[in-house]
């Protein structure tokens, strides 16, 4: 007998218009890619570079699509059941825990695997064009993508089993996936091939914290072991494996030969982590999953004098203190947004700002040390990528639920019954996001200060990079908020917001990979103009981007997109506040 969960979830999902639209869009995009590269002048490319370019663009495109689509469904699969009360029915039904687990896993990973399978005809064209190995490149590429799909689906399911809301699950899953995919590249990018050099320098000085840390790590792993560790950390995400298979394994190696083996390492990590997550999930999916106590709402103000004193010493900002009333000049919607957000309370904000400050100082410290071996533009690039990543991760997470979450929870209707105007609502909601983003970004500024001290001539460049950041923050926030006002469900709005932001920051880099064979320079420059990261890197004169003039064009595009998104948001909010 077929597993009813698979029947209900996977088959049910495949019948939806949204699933059909995703399949059609993916196939259309891939077909367009083949048409763009297919030779039309009867001149065959004998060295196979055309096929290799197609494979790389296709591989990265599929990887980005996978990162965006894979968590979308499983991230809400369990939490939504819990919210709707159907999880208890499932756990107390005749289905065994194993069947429930298998059903959820197959339903979660099935759709993404189907999408990957749909791309096979395009992959075959790479073989037909010649120059691409079936067993050496194509099959391993599909293996990597398949493993990544299953790994991300499991991660999303696991997060879903802990989350309290669908949009919260979505945010955390995307955050973790983007973090694991991108942040794990940073240590390798920073230190590959320089461990020995840094250790030598550490032997001479032996004073600062990083050097001490290096010496400790050297004691444990040895110099070669440290390099291996960096390579394993780098292989946590699928990007290095795909880079290796598409022939870009040396990118980011700064001229130092890469050791290879990224595919093997990713395979091992993906298999082990997936198996671990399945075991973890099987423990979570028990009736005790619902066994949670309700908060009794204890506040510090209710404690005796001694208890209050202890907590005053324990916390700078006490999480359990009774909050004050909303001030007369404060936008109540903004305060409500901060209070409702899982990490919006002042004690959480203080923790997050502290974390960013520490991260920024660590980066600054690394930068200072790394100036021995790196050019200043590389340091700027690292800071820019860190900040861009932070914005791309946080802006949709903070903004995608602004309106949709309110509509979904029934709070919007209550707000409509108050004298709050649409403008007050929009301003309050956006202000809550802008304040959070600004505080976090300001906390990362010390890194730039170090850069300015090292090389004073780059002041104007740094200002331009900061303008790019601010514009990205504004555009990403407004676009995500506009998505939030269009979609009725927060989960759908979150996916749309991440797709929009990641498309702008990552997908627009794909033509850059195909410059010279698939796309001409003017075309690549036009596409890169949309990308604020590429703009920041070109402003910093980072090799590979320094030849493009993107700054003015990008600012216009970002500005125009922000205005358009603000108009959509205002119009939709006005519509939502009108009587139906």
């Amino acid at each position: 007998m077929a597993n009813p969960i698979i029947q209900r979830e996977l088959i049910g999902m495949l019948r939806t218009k949204r699933a059909q639209a995703i399949q059609v869009l993916l196939l259309s995009g891939l077909t367009a890619l083949v048409l763009a590269v297919w030779p039309t002048d009867a001149i065959a490319n004998l060295d196979g570079s055309g096929a290799a370019r197609l494979l790389s663009t296709f591989g990265y495109g599929l990887l980005v699509a996978l990162i965006l689509i894979a968590p979308a469904y499983p991230a809400v699969a369990i939490v939504r059941e819990r919210q709707q009360g159907t999880l208890v029915l499932l756990l107390t039904s005749g289905l065994s825990p194993g069947s429930i687990l298998v059903g959820k896993i197959v339903a979660a990973a099935g759709f993404v695997l189907l999408l990957i399978a749909l791309s096979l005809p395009v992959a075959v064209t790479c073989i037909v064009m010649g120059g691409v190995s079936l067993t050496g490149q194509l099959l391993p590429l599909y293996l990597v993508l398949g493993l990544a799909a299953i790994q991300y689906s499991m991660l999303a399911l696991l997060v879903s089993s802990y989350a309290r809301t669908g949009d919260g699950a979505m945010r955390l899953t995307y955050g973790l996936i983007l973090g694991f995919a991108v942040l794990t590249l940073v240590p390798y990018f920073l230190l590959h091939g320089k461990v020995g050099m840094l250790l030598d320098r550490g032997d001479q000085t032996g004073t600062d914290v990083i050097m001490i840390l290096f010496n400790v790590l050297q004691g444990i792993f040895g110099e070669a072991g440290l390099e291996t560790l960096l390579e394993w950390i780098r292989a946590i995400g699928p990007i290095p494996a795909v880079m290796e298979l598409t022939g870009h394994g040396e990118v980011g190696s700064q001229g130092i030969a890469a050791a290879g083996g990224a595919v093997f390492r990713f395979g091992v990590i993906a298999l082990v982590t997936t198996a671990g997550m399945i075991v973890w999930l099987s423990i979570r999916l028990r009736p005790t999953l619902l066994d949670r106590s309700r908060s009794s709402g204890v506040t510090t103000d209710d404690l005796d004098k001694r208890g209050r004193l202890i907590r005053r010493l324990q916390f700078i900002i006490d999480p359990q203190r009774r909050s004050s009333s909303i001030g007369p000049l404060t936008n109540p919607v903004m305060v409500k947004e901060f209070r409702c957000r899982a990490m919006g309370r002042s004690h959480w904000m203080a923790r997050m700002i502290g974390f960013c400050l520490i991260m920024s100082l660590v980066l600054a410290l690394f930068s200072t040390i790394a100036t021995q071996v790196l050019e200043s533009q590389f340091l700027g690039a690292i800071l820019a990528i860190f900040q861009m990543g932070l914005i791309a991760l946080l802006a949709p997470a903070l903004s995608a639920g602004l309106v949709a979450g309110e509509v979904e929870s029934g709070g919007w209707e209550l707000m409509q019954l108050t004298p709050l105007s649409p403008v007050t609502i929009v301003v309050g909601k956006l202000a809550s996001v802008f304040w959070t983003l600004s505080l976090l970004l300001v906390a990362t500024v010390p890194g730039y200060v170090v850069l300015l001290i090292i090389e004073r001539g780059v002041a104007m460049r740094v200002v331009n990079v900061l303008i790019c950041m601010v514009l990205l923050g504004v555009t990403a926030t407004l676009t995500s908020a506009a998505c939030s006002s269009i979609f009725r469900r927060t989960a759908a709005a979150t996916v749309a917001a991440y797709v929009a932001v990641v498309s702008v920051c990552v997908l627009t880099l794909l033509p850059w990979l195909g410059e010279g064979t698939m796309f001409g320079r003017p075309m690549v420059e036009k596409v890169l103009m949309v990308n604020p990261l590429a703009t920041a890197l070109s402003v910093l004169n980072v090799p590979g981007m320094s030849q493009y003039d993107l700054r003015v064009g990008n600012w216009w595009i970002m500005g125009a997109t922000s205005v358009a998104a603000l108009l959509v948001l205002t119009w939709r909010t006005w519509r939502l506040t009108r009587p139906k």
């Binding site: 909303i326 919607v333 209070r339 409702c340 957000r341 919006g344 019954l417």
Partner: protein, 330 residues
């Protein structure tokens, strides 16, 4: 009743709402005075929520008019918001928010000055007996607690009219009694209430006026007595004897006086005879005299009142919830 109690606070005139071909509400006329409690009754999908949403300004009528304290519900939404406190059937919860913060937000949204807001929050929490949960997170509250907090929220800006959609739904018996007492207290305080409920026995205890609505049409409107008179038709009379052995003689007498249509139901064990009759009080007096003359020991003779549930079933013709046919506009 004072002069101000006669003031009409809620009024609808030929209120109609269509969604395409579907008629959700057809020419509804309502009138509600100060301090009155209106029980708005109807099966699911009858048009109750549609009416309420028009009254609170969340929906526009296709035709007709609706007024709350002389404020046109379709024209002056700004004023309307201060006149009405609305408790929808869904709570509208916010995550990570304590009850006091939740009320503080809505108070601030109504632009209440901080000092007055703080005092008012204490007042409404005391009134709704929700003060003890002020530091609880709203999403962790039970259904009954949420209803209390919801009513506290509707009272914050001290509106003259309260519209409560299914306030007693899902509450346990004790909570239902508390809710009933609270609604009566609010009416005593001068509030005008519109309450929808499926628990008709609850409504019959607190309502001054009842409106029964099905398929978007108002079937009955008036006080409970008026509704009873409207729906009663033949009266149900109950005769109780001191001894069950006299039942046969009593049945014979009733059949002689009221004919075979009297639908007599006799129970020797309970020593009771029930029958229906179009009789006036003089004829019933005659029955009592004849019974005493025949030596029957009559303990009681009285009319069984039609309760709201019976009235509702009679008016709606026993229409079950959600089985209404689709309504097409003419």
């Amino acid at each position: 009743m004072t002069q101000s109690d006669d003031q009409v606070l809620v009024k609808t005139v030929k209120l109609t709402k269509r969604f395409g071909d579907f008629v959700a509400l057809n020419a509804l006329d309502l009138e509600l005075r100060r301090k009155q409690i209106l029980g708005f009754i109807g099966p699911n999908g009858a048009g109750k929520t549609t009416t309420i949403r028009i009254l609170v300004g969340l929906s526009r009528p296709t035709s007709g008019e609706a007024f709350v304290a002389d404020c046109d519900c379709t024209q002056d939404s700004k004023r309307l918001k201060r006149l009405i406190g609305y408790l929808p059937d869904t709570f509208g919860s916010y995550d990570n928010m304590r009850v006091r913060e939740y009320l503080d937000f809505f108070g601030a949204a109504f632009k209440m000055p901080r000092k007055r807001r703080v005092a008012r929050i204490e007042e409404v929490m005391e009134l709704t007996d929700s003060g003890w949960m002020r530091d609880r997170y709203v999403e962790t509250l039970s259904h009954g607690m949420k209803q209390k907090v919801g009513i506290a929220r509707t009272l914050l800006h001290d509106p003259p009219v309260l519209i409560l959609d299914e306030p007693a739904n899902g509450l346990d018996p004790k909570a239902r009694i508390e809710m009933r007492d609270l609604l009566l207290r609010l009416a005593d305080m001068g509030k005008t209430l519109i309450v929808t409920s499926h628990i008709l026995s609850e409504l019959s205890r607190i309502c001054d006026v009842v409106s029964i609505i099905t398929h978007g049409e108002q079937r009955a409107f008036g006080t409970l007595d008026e509704i009873n008179r409207l729906v009663s038709g033949p009266r149900l009379i109950e005769l109780t004897l001191a001894d069950g052995t006299e039942i046969e003689a009593a049945t014979r007498l009733i059949n002689e006086m009221f004919g075979p249509n009297a639908e007599v139901q006799a129970s020797a064990q309970e020593a009771q005879v029930r029958f229906t009759a179009e009789a006036d009080d003089a004829k019933l007096s005659g029955l009592l005299t004849s019974a005493v003359k025949q030596g029957l020991r009559v303990a009681q003779l009285h009319e069984v009142p039609v309760d709201l549930e019976d009235a509702f079933l009679q008016v709606t013709g026993g229409v079950a919830a959600d089985d209404s046919p689709s309504r097409k506009a003419n």
